[in-house]
Subunit: 326 residues, 2 copies
Protein backbone atom coordinates (compact mmCIF):
# COMPACT_ATOMS: atom_id res chain seq x y z
CA UNK A 1 0.00 0.00 0.00
CA UNK A 2 1.53 3.35 -0.99
CA UNK A 3 1.50 6.34 1.34
CA UNK A 4 -1.20 7.90 -0.83
CA UNK A 5 -3.43 4.83 -0.83
CA UNK A 6 -3.02 4.66 2.93
CA UNK A 7 -3.92 8.33 3.43
CA UNK A 8 -6.95 7.94 1.16
CA UNK A 9 -8.02 4.88 3.11
CA UNK A 10 -7.73 6.80 6.40
CA UNK A 11 -9.63 9.74 4.92
CA UNK A 12 -12.47 7.51 3.78
CA UNK A 13 -12.82 5.82 7.16
CA UNK A 14 -12.35 8.94 9.31
CA UNK A 15 -14.84 11.33 7.76
CA UNK A 16 -16.43 13.29 10.63
CA UNK A 17 -16.84 17.06 10.31
CA UNK A 18 -16.72 19.79 12.97
CA UNK A 19 -19.91 20.08 15.02
CA UNK A 20 -19.56 23.85 15.05
CA UNK A 21 -20.66 24.89 11.56
CA UNK A 22 -18.74 28.15 11.80
CA UNK A 23 -15.51 26.11 12.08
CA UNK A 24 -14.77 25.45 8.43
CA UNK A 25 -11.95 23.61 6.78
CA UNK A 26 -11.48 25.56 3.56
CA UNK A 27 -8.93 22.99 2.37
CA UNK A 28 -8.63 19.59 4.08
CA UNK A 29 -6.37 16.62 3.41
CA UNK A 30 -4.42 16.54 0.14
CA UNK A 31 -2.42 19.77 -0.16
CA UNK A 32 0.79 20.96 1.53
CA UNK A 33 -1.32 22.09 4.45
CA UNK A 34 -4.93 22.46 5.56
CA UNK A 35 -6.60 25.87 5.43
CA UNK A 36 -8.94 26.51 8.35
CA UNK A 37 -11.31 29.34 9.10
CA UNK A 38 -11.51 30.29 12.79
CA UNK A 39 -14.80 32.02 13.62
CA UNK A 40 -14.49 35.55 14.99
CA UNK A 41 -14.86 35.92 18.75
CA UNK A 42 -13.24 32.53 19.24
CA UNK A 43 -9.71 31.60 20.25
CA UNK A 44 -7.92 28.52 19.05
CA UNK A 45 -6.78 25.87 21.55
CA UNK A 46 -4.07 23.49 20.31
CA UNK A 47 -2.60 20.45 22.01
CA UNK A 48 -0.42 17.57 20.92
CA UNK A 49 0.29 14.14 22.41
CA UNK A 50 2.21 11.12 21.23
CA UNK A 51 1.53 7.45 21.95
CA UNK A 52 4.54 5.15 21.46
CA UNK A 53 4.10 1.36 21.26
CA UNK A 54 5.57 -0.36 24.31
CA UNK A 55 5.71 2.91 26.25
CA UNK A 56 2.15 4.26 26.31
CA UNK A 57 0.36 1.03 25.48
CA UNK A 58 1.38 -2.63 25.63
CA UNK A 59 2.43 -3.99 22.24
CA UNK A 60 -0.49 -6.44 21.84
CA UNK A 61 -3.16 -3.71 22.36
CA UNK A 62 -6.01 -4.04 19.85
CA UNK A 63 -5.57 -1.55 16.99
CA UNK A 64 -9.01 0.05 17.32
CA UNK A 65 -8.14 0.95 20.92
CA UNK A 66 -4.83 2.48 19.81
CA UNK A 67 -6.57 4.61 17.17
CA UNK A 68 -9.33 5.62 19.58
CA UNK A 69 -6.96 6.47 22.39
CA UNK A 70 -4.48 8.47 20.29
CA UNK A 71 -7.33 10.87 19.58
CA UNK A 72 -8.97 10.59 23.02
CA UNK A 73 -5.91 11.75 24.99
CA UNK A 74 -5.83 14.91 22.88
CA UNK A 75 -9.56 15.60 23.06
CA UNK A 76 -9.22 15.21 26.82
CA UNK A 77 -6.68 18.05 26.79
CA UNK A 78 -9.12 20.20 24.80
CA UNK A 79 -11.85 19.37 27.34
CA UNK A 80 -9.53 20.46 30.15
CA UNK A 81 -9.13 23.84 28.42
CA UNK A 82 -12.91 24.25 28.04
CA UNK A 83 -12.64 24.01 24.25
CA UNK A 84 -14.88 22.41 21.66
CA UNK A 85 -12.90 20.15 19.28
CA UNK A 86 -12.94 21.15 15.62
CA UNK A 87 -10.04 19.56 13.73
CA UNK A 88 -7.15 17.17 14.24
CA UNK A 89 -3.95 16.19 12.45
CA UNK A 90 -2.36 12.76 12.74
CA UNK A 91 1.27 11.76 12.23
CA UNK A 92 1.26 7.96 12.01
CA UNK A 93 4.50 5.99 11.97
CA UNK A 94 3.99 2.34 11.08
CA UNK A 95 6.47 -0.55 11.07
CA UNK A 96 4.33 -2.65 8.73
CA UNK A 97 1.88 -2.45 5.87
CA UNK A 98 -1.11 -4.38 7.19
CA UNK A 99 -4.47 -3.28 5.74
CA UNK A 100 -6.47 -5.13 8.45
CA UNK A 101 -4.54 -3.42 11.23
CA UNK A 102 -4.93 -0.03 9.56
CA UNK A 103 -8.65 -0.51 9.01
CA UNK A 104 -9.21 -1.44 12.65
CA UNK A 105 -6.99 1.42 13.86
CA UNK A 106 -8.81 3.94 11.67
CA UNK A 107 -12.19 2.52 12.70
CA UNK A 108 -11.46 3.12 16.38
CA UNK A 109 -10.34 6.65 15.65
CA UNK A 110 -13.32 7.29 13.36
CA UNK A 111 -15.78 6.25 16.08
CA UNK A 112 -14.47 8.88 18.48
CA UNK A 113 -14.02 11.52 15.74
CA UNK A 114 -17.66 11.04 14.88
CA UNK A 115 -18.85 11.12 18.52
CA UNK A 116 -16.83 14.27 19.16
CA UNK A 117 -17.57 15.88 15.77
CA UNK A 118 -13.94 16.57 14.95
CA UNK A 119 -12.46 16.54 11.44
CA UNK A 120 -9.22 14.84 10.36
CA UNK A 121 -7.82 17.77 8.37
CA UNK A 122 -4.33 16.47 7.58
CA UNK A 123 -1.43 14.34 8.65
CA UNK A 124 1.65 12.43 7.67
CA UNK A 125 2.25 8.71 7.30
CA UNK A 126 5.80 7.39 7.62
CA UNK A 127 7.47 4.05 8.12
CA UNK A 128 9.29 3.35 11.39
CA UNK A 129 8.59 2.08 14.92
CA UNK A 130 4.86 2.31 15.75
CA UNK A 131 3.88 5.69 17.15
CA UNK A 132 1.02 8.12 16.74
CA UNK A 133 1.15 11.88 17.28
CA UNK A 134 -2.16 13.69 17.19
CA UNK A 135 -2.43 17.47 17.21
CA UNK A 136 -5.97 18.58 18.05
CA UNK A 137 -7.42 22.05 17.47
CA UNK A 138 -10.45 23.31 19.35
CA UNK A 139 -12.32 26.57 19.80
CA UNK A 140 -13.24 28.51 22.91
CA UNK A 141 -14.93 31.88 23.38
CA UNK A 142 -12.29 34.61 23.64
CA UNK A 143 -10.82 34.78 27.13
CA UNK A 144 -12.79 31.75 28.39
CA UNK A 145 -10.16 29.00 28.29
CA UNK A 146 -9.54 27.11 31.54
CA UNK A 147 -6.01 27.31 32.90
CA UNK A 148 -3.98 25.49 35.53
CA UNK A 149 -2.70 28.67 37.12
CA UNK A 150 -5.86 30.26 38.46
CA UNK A 151 -6.95 28.23 41.52
CA UNK A 152 -7.24 30.21 44.78
CA UNK A 153 -7.25 29.24 48.45
CA UNK A 154 -10.70 28.22 49.64
CA UNK A 155 -11.72 26.71 46.27
CA UNK A 156 -13.20 23.24 46.29
CA UNK A 157 -11.29 20.48 44.44
CA UNK A 158 -13.57 18.39 42.20
CA UNK A 159 -12.96 15.25 40.18
CA UNK A 160 -15.18 13.77 37.45
CA UNK A 161 -15.90 10.05 37.26
CA UNK A 162 -14.00 7.49 39.32
CA UNK A 163 -10.23 7.47 38.83
CA UNK A 164 -8.28 4.22 39.15
CA UNK A 165 -9.93 1.76 36.78
CA UNK A 166 -7.49 2.22 33.89
CA UNK A 167 -4.47 1.82 36.17
CA UNK A 168 -5.96 -1.33 37.67
CA UNK A 169 -6.58 -2.81 34.22
CA UNK A 170 -2.99 -2.08 33.21
CA UNK A 171 -1.66 -3.62 36.43
CA UNK A 172 -3.63 -6.81 35.78
CA UNK A 173 -2.39 -6.99 32.18
CA UNK A 174 1.18 -6.55 33.37
CA UNK A 175 0.62 -9.37 35.88
CA UNK A 176 -0.66 -11.60 33.08
CA UNK A 177 -4.26 -11.72 34.31
CA UNK A 178 -7.43 -10.55 32.58
CA UNK A 179 -8.91 -7.22 33.70
CA UNK A 180 -12.67 -6.78 34.16
CA UNK A 181 -14.62 -5.44 31.20
CA UNK A 182 -15.29 -1.99 32.67
CA UNK A 183 -11.68 -1.50 33.74
CA UNK A 184 -10.34 -2.60 30.34
CA UNK A 185 -12.74 -0.18 28.64
CA UNK A 186 -11.45 2.61 30.90
CA UNK A 187 -7.89 1.79 29.78
CA UNK A 188 -8.53 1.26 26.07
CA UNK A 189 -11.49 3.53 25.36
CA UNK A 190 -11.40 6.43 27.84
CA UNK A 191 -14.23 8.92 27.26
CA UNK A 192 -12.90 12.48 27.05
CA UNK A 193 -15.10 14.75 29.19
CA UNK A 194 -15.94 17.11 26.36
CA UNK A 195 -19.47 18.11 27.41
CA UNK A 196 -18.29 18.76 30.95
CA UNK A 197 -15.26 20.73 29.75
CA UNK A 198 -17.38 22.99 27.57
CA UNK A 199 -19.71 23.76 30.51
CA UNK A 200 -16.92 24.61 32.97
CA UNK A 201 -15.93 28.13 31.84
CA UNK A 202 -17.73 30.57 34.13
CA UNK A 203 -17.73 28.13 37.04
CA UNK A 204 -14.32 26.45 37.31
CA UNK A 205 -11.38 28.53 38.49
CA UNK A 206 -8.75 26.05 37.19
CA UNK A 207 -8.79 22.71 35.38
CA UNK A 208 -6.55 19.87 34.18
CA UNK A 209 -7.14 16.42 32.75
CA UNK A 210 -5.83 13.40 34.62
CA UNK A 211 -3.35 11.67 32.36
CA UNK A 212 -0.42 11.26 34.75
CA UNK A 213 -2.44 10.42 37.88
CA UNK A 214 -4.67 12.60 40.05
CA UNK A 215 -1.88 13.55 42.46
CA UNK A 216 0.62 14.58 39.78
CA UNK A 217 -1.95 16.48 37.76
CA UNK A 218 -3.50 18.24 40.75
CA UNK A 219 0.12 19.03 41.61
CA UNK A 220 0.42 20.98 38.36
CA UNK A 221 -2.57 23.13 39.33
CA UNK A 222 -1.09 23.76 42.77
CA UNK A 223 2.37 24.56 41.47
CA UNK A 224 1.15 26.86 38.71
CA UNK A 225 -1.41 28.56 40.97
CA UNK A 226 1.02 28.90 43.88
CA UNK A 227 -1.34 27.18 46.33
CA UNK A 228 -1.71 23.89 48.24
CA UNK A 229 -4.54 21.42 48.81
CA UNK A 230 -5.93 19.04 51.39
CA UNK A 231 -7.57 15.99 49.84
CA UNK A 232 -9.95 13.81 51.87
CA UNK A 233 -9.08 10.22 50.90
CA UNK A 234 -12.44 8.96 52.20
CA UNK A 235 -14.27 10.96 49.53
CA UNK A 236 -12.31 9.60 46.54
CA UNK A 237 -14.97 8.12 44.20
CA UNK A 238 -14.13 4.46 43.72
CA UNK A 239 -14.57 2.19 40.68
CA UNK A 240 -16.54 -0.97 41.55
CA UNK A 241 -13.55 -3.22 40.97
CA UNK A 242 -11.46 -1.38 43.58
CA UNK A 243 -14.17 -1.18 46.23
CA UNK A 244 -13.03 -4.17 48.30
CA UNK A 245 -9.38 -3.12 48.37
CA UNK A 246 -7.63 -1.62 51.38
CA UNK A 247 -6.66 2.04 50.98
CA UNK A 248 -2.98 1.16 50.74
CA UNK A 249 -3.71 -0.97 47.68
CA UNK A 250 -6.33 1.32 46.12
CA UNK A 251 -4.82 4.78 46.61
CA UNK A 252 -1.71 4.20 44.44
CA UNK A 253 -4.00 3.19 41.57
CA UNK A 254 -6.38 6.11 42.11
CA UNK A 255 -3.81 8.82 42.79
CA UNK A 256 -0.69 7.82 40.85
CA UNK A 257 -1.90 5.35 38.23
CA UNK A 258 -2.71 7.74 35.43
CA UNK A 259 -4.53 7.17 32.15
CA UNK A 260 -7.85 8.23 33.72
CA UNK A 261 -8.70 11.16 31.41
CA UNK A 262 -11.12 12.49 33.99
CA UNK A 263 -11.08 16.22 34.72
CA UNK A 264 -9.79 17.61 37.99
CA UNK A 265 -10.93 21.19 38.55
CA UNK A 266 -11.49 23.81 41.21
CA UNK A 267 -14.62 25.86 41.89
CA UNK A 268 -15.29 28.65 44.38
CA UNK A 269 -16.49 27.55 47.85
CA UNK A 270 -20.27 27.75 47.90
CA UNK A 271 -20.69 26.27 44.39
CA UNK A 272 -22.21 22.97 45.55
CA UNK A 273 -25.60 23.66 43.96
CA UNK A 274 -24.02 24.66 40.66
CA UNK A 275 -21.92 21.48 40.78
CA UNK A 276 -24.97 19.28 41.24
CA UNK A 277 -26.71 20.98 38.32
CA UNK A 278 -23.58 20.66 36.20
CA UNK A 279 -23.31 16.96 36.99
CA UNK A 280 -26.83 16.40 35.68
CA UNK A 281 -26.38 18.64 32.62
CA UNK A 282 -23.08 17.03 31.60
CA UNK A 283 -24.16 13.51 32.57
CA UNK A 284 -21.02 12.94 34.64
CA UNK A 285 -20.51 12.07 38.30
CA UNK A 286 -18.77 14.96 40.06
CA UNK A 287 -17.23 14.61 43.52
CA UNK A 288 -15.75 17.22 45.84
CA UNK A 289 -12.56 15.61 47.15
CA UNK A 290 -10.89 18.46 49.00
CA UNK A 291 -10.02 22.10 49.26
CA UNK A 292 -7.36 24.50 48.03
CA UNK A 293 -5.18 25.88 50.87
CA UNK A 294 -2.96 28.95 51.06
CA UNK A 295 0.22 26.89 51.66
CA UNK A 296 2.18 24.99 49.02
CA UNK A 297 1.64 21.47 50.38
CA UNK A 298 -0.55 18.77 48.87
CA UNK A 299 -1.86 16.55 51.67
CA UNK A 300 -3.90 13.36 51.41
CA UNK A 301 -5.73 12.47 54.66
CA UNK A 302 -8.47 10.20 55.92
CA UNK A 303 -11.12 11.31 58.45
CA UNK A 304 -9.42 9.21 61.14
CA UNK A 305 -6.16 11.06 60.62
CA UNK A 306 -4.18 8.68 58.37
CA UNK A 307 -2.15 10.40 55.71
CA UNK A 308 -0.74 9.04 52.47
CA UNK A 309 1.94 10.30 50.06
CA UNK A 310 1.54 8.95 46.53
CA UNK A 311 4.50 8.29 44.25
CA UNK A 312 4.48 10.84 41.42
CA UNK A 313 5.09 8.41 38.59
CA UNK A 314 3.71 10.82 36.05
CA UNK A 315 6.55 13.27 36.60
CA UNK A 316 9.16 10.80 35.44
CA UNK A 317 8.31 9.37 32.03
CA UNK A 318 11.90 9.60 31.09
CA UNK A 319 13.28 7.48 33.87
CA UNK A 320 10.66 4.76 33.40
CA UNK A 321 10.65 3.90 29.72
CA UNK A 322 8.60 0.93 28.72
CA UNK A 323 6.39 0.85 31.80
CA UNK A 324 3.20 1.24 29.83
CA UNK A 325 2.18 4.34 31.72
CA UNK A 326 1.41 7.72 30.30
CA UNK B 1 16.35 14.76 33.25
CA UNK B 2 12.59 14.72 33.89
CA UNK B 3 10.09 15.47 31.14
CA UNK B 4 9.44 18.83 32.76
CA UNK B 5 13.12 19.80 33.00
CA UNK B 6 13.50 18.79 29.38
CA UNK B 7 10.51 20.86 28.25
CA UNK B 8 11.77 23.85 30.22
CA UNK B 9 15.19 23.45 28.65
CA UNK B 10 13.65 23.38 25.16
CA UNK B 11 11.50 26.39 26.00
CA UNK B 12 14.51 28.40 27.15
CA UNK B 13 16.54 27.61 24.04
CA UNK B 14 13.71 27.96 21.51
CA UNK B 15 12.28 31.36 22.42
CA UNK B 16 11.35 33.08 19.14
CA UNK B 17 8.00 34.88 18.85
CA UNK B 18 5.71 35.32 15.82
CA UNK B 19 6.87 38.05 13.42
CA UNK B 20 3.24 39.07 12.86
CA UNK B 21 2.34 40.99 16.02
CA UNK B 22 -1.36 40.33 15.50
CA UNK B 23 -0.66 36.58 15.87
CA UNK B 24 -0.68 36.24 19.63
CA UNK B 25 -0.21 33.23 21.83
CA UNK B 26 -2.52 33.99 24.75
CA UNK B 27 -1.23 30.89 26.57
CA UNK B 28 1.94 29.13 25.43
CA UNK B 29 3.78 26.08 26.75
CA UNK B 30 2.78 24.75 30.17
CA UNK B 31 -0.97 24.12 30.20
CA UNK B 32 -3.10 21.33 28.68
CA UNK B 33 -3.04 23.25 25.43
CA UNK B 34 -1.92 26.53 23.92
CA UNK B 35 -4.45 29.32 23.36
CA UNK B 36 -3.87 31.26 20.15
CA UNK B 37 -5.50 34.35 18.75
CA UNK B 38 -5.93 34.31 14.96
CA UNK B 39 -6.22 37.85 13.55
CA UNK B 40 -9.46 38.61 11.70
CA UNK B 41 -9.27 38.51 7.91
CA UNK B 42 -6.69 35.75 8.10
CA UNK B 43 -7.05 32.00 7.60
CA UNK B 44 -5.01 29.42 9.44
CA UNK B 45 -2.73 27.06 7.49
CA UNK B 46 -1.68 23.89 9.35
CA UNK B 47 0.74 21.19 8.29
CA UNK B 48 2.47 18.32 10.03
CA UNK B 49 5.50 16.22 9.13
CA UNK B 50 7.45 13.54 10.97
CA UNK B 51 11.15 12.75 10.73
CA UNK B 52 12.10 9.23 11.85
CA UNK B 53 15.73 8.30 12.58
CA UNK B 54 17.08 5.86 10.00
CA UNK B 55 14.22 6.61 7.61
CA UNK B 56 14.30 10.35 7.00
CA UNK B 57 17.85 10.98 8.11
CA UNK B 58 20.89 8.73 8.61
CA UNK B 59 21.40 7.78 12.28
CA UNK B 60 24.71 9.65 12.73
CA UNK B 61 23.25 13.00 11.53
CA UNK B 62 24.35 15.89 13.76
CA UNK B 63 21.61 16.81 16.26
CA UNK B 64 21.45 20.50 15.33
CA UNK B 65 20.67 19.48 11.74
CA UNK B 66 17.90 17.14 12.94
CA UNK B 67 16.32 19.91 15.04
CA UNK B 68 16.68 22.44 12.24
CA UNK B 69 15.29 20.14 9.58
CA UNK B 70 12.30 18.89 11.60
CA UNK B 71 11.08 22.49 11.65
CA UNK B 72 12.32 23.38 8.13
CA UNK B 73 10.29 20.68 6.34
CA UNK B 74 7.13 22.06 7.94
CA UNK B 75 7.93 25.72 7.28
CA UNK B 76 8.55 24.69 3.68
CA UNK B 77 4.97 23.38 3.53
CA UNK B 78 3.69 26.69 4.92
CA UNK B 79 5.74 28.54 2.27
CA UNK B 80 4.17 26.36 -0.43
CA UNK B 81 0.72 27.46 0.81
CA UNK B 82 1.72 31.15 0.73
CA UNK B 83 1.44 31.38 4.52
CA UNK B 84 3.51 33.27 7.08
CA UNK B 85 4.60 31.00 9.97
CA UNK B 86 3.31 31.94 13.42
CA UNK B 87 3.49 28.96 15.83
CA UNK B 88 4.67 25.37 15.96
CA UNK B 89 4.19 22.34 18.19
CA UNK B 90 6.79 19.61 18.61
CA UNK B 91 6.30 15.98 19.63
CA UNK B 92 9.78 14.68 20.41
CA UNK B 93 10.37 10.98 21.06
CA UNK B 94 13.84 10.28 22.44
CA UNK B 95 15.56 6.95 23.14
CA UNK B 96 18.07 8.53 25.53
CA UNK B 97 18.49 11.27 28.08
CA UNK B 98 21.53 13.13 26.77
CA UNK B 99 21.64 16.84 27.68
CA UNK B 100 24.36 17.63 25.11
CA UNK B 101 22.35 16.05 22.32
CA UNK B 102 19.21 17.87 23.40
CA UNK B 103 20.98 21.22 23.63
CA UNK B 104 22.42 20.84 20.14
CA UNK B 105 19.08 19.64 18.74
CA UNK B 106 17.22 22.55 20.32
CA UNK B 107 19.89 25.00 19.18
CA UNK B 108 19.45 23.98 15.54
CA UNK B 109 15.69 24.32 15.84
CA UNK B 110 16.00 27.66 17.69
CA UNK B 111 18.16 29.13 14.93
CA UNK B 112 15.49 28.50 12.31
CA UNK B 113 12.60 29.45 14.64
CA UNK B 114 14.33 32.78 15.19
CA UNK B 115 15.08 33.35 11.48
CA UNK B 116 11.48 32.51 10.57
CA UNK B 117 9.91 34.29 13.59
CA UNK B 118 7.82 31.30 14.66
CA UNK B 119 6.96 30.46 18.28
CA UNK B 120 7.20 27.03 19.92
CA UNK B 121 3.77 27.09 21.59
CA UNK B 122 3.57 23.53 22.90
CA UNK B 123 4.55 19.93 22.49
CA UNK B 124 5.08 16.55 24.04
CA UNK B 125 8.24 14.72 25.03
CA UNK B 126 8.14 10.93 25.27
CA UNK B 127 10.64 8.12 25.44
CA UNK B 128 10.96 5.71 22.53
CA UNK B 129 12.74 5.37 19.17
CA UNK B 130 14.01 8.76 17.94
CA UNK B 131 11.42 10.66 15.95
CA UNK B 132 10.20 14.23 15.71
CA UNK B 133 6.76 15.37 14.62
CA UNK B 134 6.31 19.10 14.10
CA UNK B 135 2.93 20.69 13.48
CA UNK B 136 3.31 24.22 12.12
CA UNK B 137 0.60 26.89 12.00
CA UNK B 138 0.78 29.85 9.66
CA UNK B 139 -1.49 32.67 8.53
CA UNK B 140 -2.61 33.75 5.10
CA UNK B 141 -5.03 36.44 3.95
CA UNK B 142 -8.51 34.94 3.55
CA UNK B 143 -8.87 33.13 0.24
CA UNK B 144 -5.22 33.67 -0.74
CA UNK B 145 -3.65 30.27 0.05
CA UNK B 146 -1.82 28.55 -2.79
CA UNK B 147 -3.18 25.17 -3.82
CA UNK B 148 -1.99 22.26 -5.94
CA UNK B 149 -5.23 21.96 -7.84
CA UNK B 150 -5.38 25.25 -9.72
CA UNK B 151 -2.78 25.09 -12.52
CA UNK B 152 -4.15 25.58 -16.06
CA UNK B 153 -2.87 24.70 -19.52
CA UNK B 154 -0.52 27.34 -20.88
CA UNK B 155 0.90 28.25 -17.43
CA UNK B 156 4.67 28.35 -17.08
CA UNK B 157 6.30 25.88 -14.65
CA UNK B 158 8.84 27.56 -12.37
CA UNK B 159 11.29 26.18 -9.84
CA UNK B 160 13.19 28.09 -7.16
CA UNK B 161 16.89 27.46 -6.48
CA UNK B 162 18.74 24.48 -7.93
CA UNK B 163 17.31 21.06 -7.07
CA UNK B 164 19.60 18.06 -6.68
CA UNK B 165 22.25 19.07 -4.15
CA UNK B 166 20.61 17.39 -1.13
CA UNK B 167 20.08 14.12 -3.01
CA UNK B 168 23.71 14.16 -4.16
CA UNK B 169 24.94 14.72 -0.59
CA UNK B 170 22.81 11.81 0.65
CA UNK B 171 24.08 9.57 -2.16
CA UNK B 172 27.69 10.32 -1.23
CA UNK B 173 27.01 9.67 2.46
CA UNK B 174 25.39 6.35 1.57
CA UNK B 175 28.45 5.46 -0.52
CA UNK B 176 30.69 6.27 2.45
CA UNK B 177 32.28 9.37 0.90
CA UNK B 178 32.23 12.97 2.11
CA UNK B 179 29.81 15.37 0.36
CA UNK B 180 30.87 18.91 -0.55
CA UNK B 181 30.06 21.64 1.97
CA UNK B 182 27.29 23.27 -0.06
CA UNK B 183 25.60 19.95 -0.83
CA UNK B 184 25.75 18.83 2.81
CA UNK B 185 24.24 22.16 3.87
CA UNK B 186 21.42 21.64 1.36
CA UNK B 187 20.73 18.23 2.93
CA UNK B 188 21.07 19.19 6.60
CA UNK B 189 20.01 22.84 6.66
CA UNK B 190 17.56 23.42 3.78
CA UNK B 191 16.26 27.00 3.69
CA UNK B 192 12.45 27.07 3.49
CA UNK B 193 11.41 29.59 0.84
CA UNK B 194 9.25 31.65 3.16
CA UNK B 195 9.77 35.10 1.63
CA UNK B 196 9.10 33.72 -1.84
CA UNK B 197 6.02 31.81 -0.64
CA UNK B 198 4.51 34.91 0.94
CA UNK B 199 4.98 36.88 -2.30
CA UNK B 200 3.41 34.25 -4.57
CA UNK B 201 -0.34 34.76 -3.89
CA UNK B 202 -1.68 36.96 -6.67
CA UNK B 203 0.88 35.67 -9.17
CA UNK B 204 1.18 31.87 -8.85
CA UNK B 205 -1.72 29.73 -10.03
CA UNK B 206 -0.55 26.60 -8.13
CA UNK B 207 2.36 25.71 -5.83
CA UNK B 208 4.00 22.80 -4.00
CA UNK B 209 7.26 22.33 -2.14
CA UNK B 210 9.74 19.74 -3.39
CA UNK B 211 10.18 17.19 -0.65
CA UNK B 212 9.70 13.98 -2.66
CA UNK B 213 11.57 15.08 -5.79
CA UNK B 214 10.61 17.59 -8.48
CA UNK B 215 8.95 15.00 -10.72
CA UNK B 216 6.79 13.46 -7.99
CA UNK B 217 5.78 16.82 -6.55
CA UNK B 218 5.06 18.44 -9.91
CA UNK B 219 3.08 15.24 -10.52
CA UNK B 220 0.82 16.16 -7.58
CA UNK B 221 0.05 19.55 -9.14
CA UNK B 222 -0.72 17.90 -12.49
CA UNK B 223 -2.88 15.18 -10.98
CA UNK B 224 -4.85 17.53 -8.74
CA UNK B 225 -5.22 20.18 -11.47
CA UNK B 226 -6.14 17.62 -14.15
CA UNK B 227 -3.41 18.81 -16.53
CA UNK B 228 -0.04 17.70 -17.96
CA UNK B 229 3.36 19.35 -18.43
CA UNK B 230 6.33 19.40 -20.75
CA UNK B 231 9.60 20.05 -18.93
CA UNK B 232 12.72 21.16 -20.83
CA UNK B 233 15.59 19.22 -19.25
CA UNK B 234 18.14 21.69 -20.67
CA UNK B 235 16.71 24.47 -18.52
CA UNK B 236 16.93 22.62 -15.16
CA UNK B 237 19.04 24.88 -12.92
CA UNK B 238 22.04 22.87 -11.81
CA UNK B 239 23.98 22.92 -8.51
CA UNK B 240 27.72 23.47 -9.08
CA UNK B 241 28.62 19.99 -7.88
CA UNK B 242 26.41 18.34 -10.52
CA UNK B 243 27.52 20.52 -13.43
CA UNK B 244 30.07 18.11 -14.91
CA UNK B 245 27.74 15.08 -14.77
CA UNK B 246 26.03 13.59 -17.80
CA UNK B 247 22.26 14.06 -17.85
CA UNK B 248 21.64 10.39 -17.12
CA UNK B 249 23.57 10.75 -13.85
CA UNK B 250 22.28 14.21 -12.92
CA UNK B 251 18.57 13.97 -13.77
CA UNK B 252 17.71 11.23 -11.27
CA UNK B 253 19.20 13.40 -8.50
CA UNK B 254 17.46 16.55 -9.70
CA UNK B 255 14.07 15.04 -10.52
CA UNK B 256 13.62 12.10 -8.15
CA UNK B 257 16.07 12.72 -5.32
CA UNK B 258 13.88 14.73 -3.03
CA UNK B 259 14.73 16.69 0.11
CA UNK B 260 15.17 19.89 -1.92
CA UNK B 261 12.56 22.07 -0.19
CA UNK B 262 12.49 24.40 -3.14
CA UNK B 263 9.12 25.59 -4.43
CA UNK B 264 7.69 24.42 -7.74
CA UNK B 265 4.88 26.67 -8.94
CA UNK B 266 2.97 27.72 -12.00
CA UNK B 267 2.31 31.24 -13.28
CA UNK B 268 0.27 32.51 -16.23
CA UNK B 269 2.08 32.69 -19.60
CA UNK B 270 3.32 36.25 -20.04
CA UNK B 271 4.49 36.61 -16.41
CA UNK B 272 8.21 36.66 -17.21
CA UNK B 273 8.69 40.26 -16.09
CA UNK B 274 6.82 39.68 -12.82
CA UNK B 275 8.97 36.57 -12.27
CA UNK B 276 12.20 38.52 -12.67
CA UNK B 277 10.97 41.19 -10.25
CA UNK B 278 9.87 38.50 -7.80
CA UNK B 279 13.27 36.80 -7.99
CA UNK B 280 14.97 40.05 -6.97
CA UNK B 281 12.42 40.88 -4.25
CA UNK B 282 12.56 37.41 -2.67
CA UNK B 283 16.31 37.01 -3.21
CA UNK B 284 15.87 33.59 -4.84
CA UNK B 285 16.87 32.28 -8.27
CA UNK B 286 13.72 31.43 -10.26
CA UNK B 287 13.83 29.39 -13.46
CA UNK B 288 11.12 28.62 -15.99
CA UNK B 289 11.54 24.91 -16.73
CA UNK B 290 8.49 24.11 -18.80
CA UNK B 291 4.83 24.58 -19.52
CA UNK B 292 1.50 23.16 -18.42
CA UNK B 293 -0.30 21.23 -21.19
CA UNK B 294 -3.94 20.25 -21.63
CA UNK B 295 -3.18 16.50 -21.59
CA UNK B 296 -2.41 14.40 -18.52
CA UNK B 297 1.18 13.45 -19.39
CA UNK B 298 4.32 14.71 -17.70
CA UNK B 299 7.15 14.71 -20.25
CA UNK B 300 10.82 15.49 -19.72
CA UNK B 301 12.67 16.37 -22.95
CA UNK B 302 15.91 17.92 -24.12
CA UNK B 303 16.16 20.40 -27.00
CA UNK B 304 17.72 17.70 -29.21
CA UNK B 305 14.75 15.39 -28.65
CA UNK B 306 15.96 13.07 -25.90
CA UNK B 307 13.33 12.20 -23.33
CA UNK B 308 13.72 10.87 -19.81
CA UNK B 309 11.32 9.20 -17.37
CA UNK B 310 12.36 9.62 -13.72
CA UNK B 311 11.62 6.98 -11.08
CA UNK B 312 8.95 8.31 -8.71
CA UNK B 313 10.66 7.31 -5.48
CA UNK B 314 8.67 9.84 -3.50
CA UNK B 315 5.43 8.01 -4.13
CA UNK B 316 6.56 4.89 -2.34
CA UNK B 317 7.87 5.63 1.15
CA UNK B 318 6.18 2.57 2.39
CA UNK B 319 7.85 0.10 0.11
CA UNK B 320 11.30 1.56 0.69
CA UNK B 321 11.68 1.87 4.45
CA UNK B 322 15.09 2.85 5.67
CA UNK B 323 16.31 4.36 2.41
CA UNK B 324 17.04 7.71 3.97
CA UNK B 325 14.70 9.51 1.62
CA UNK B 326 11.75 11.66 2.45
Amino acid sequence: MSEFDLINSLREIICARPGDEAAQSVVGIGDDGAVLSVPSGRELVVCTDTLVAGVHFPLPTRPDAIGYKALAVNLSDLAAMGAQPAWFFMALTLPFDNPDWIESFAGGMAKLASDAAVELAGGDVTSGPLSITVTALGLVAKGQSLLRSTAVAGDLVVVSGRPGAAAYALKRLQEGSQPGTADLAALNFPVPRLALGRMLPGLATACIDISDGLAADLGHILEQSGVGAVIDLDTLPCPDSLRSMAGSERWPLQLAGGDDYELCFTVPAGSKTELMELSVAAGVELTIIGEITPGREMEFKTADGKSYRPAMAGYRHFENPGNGEK
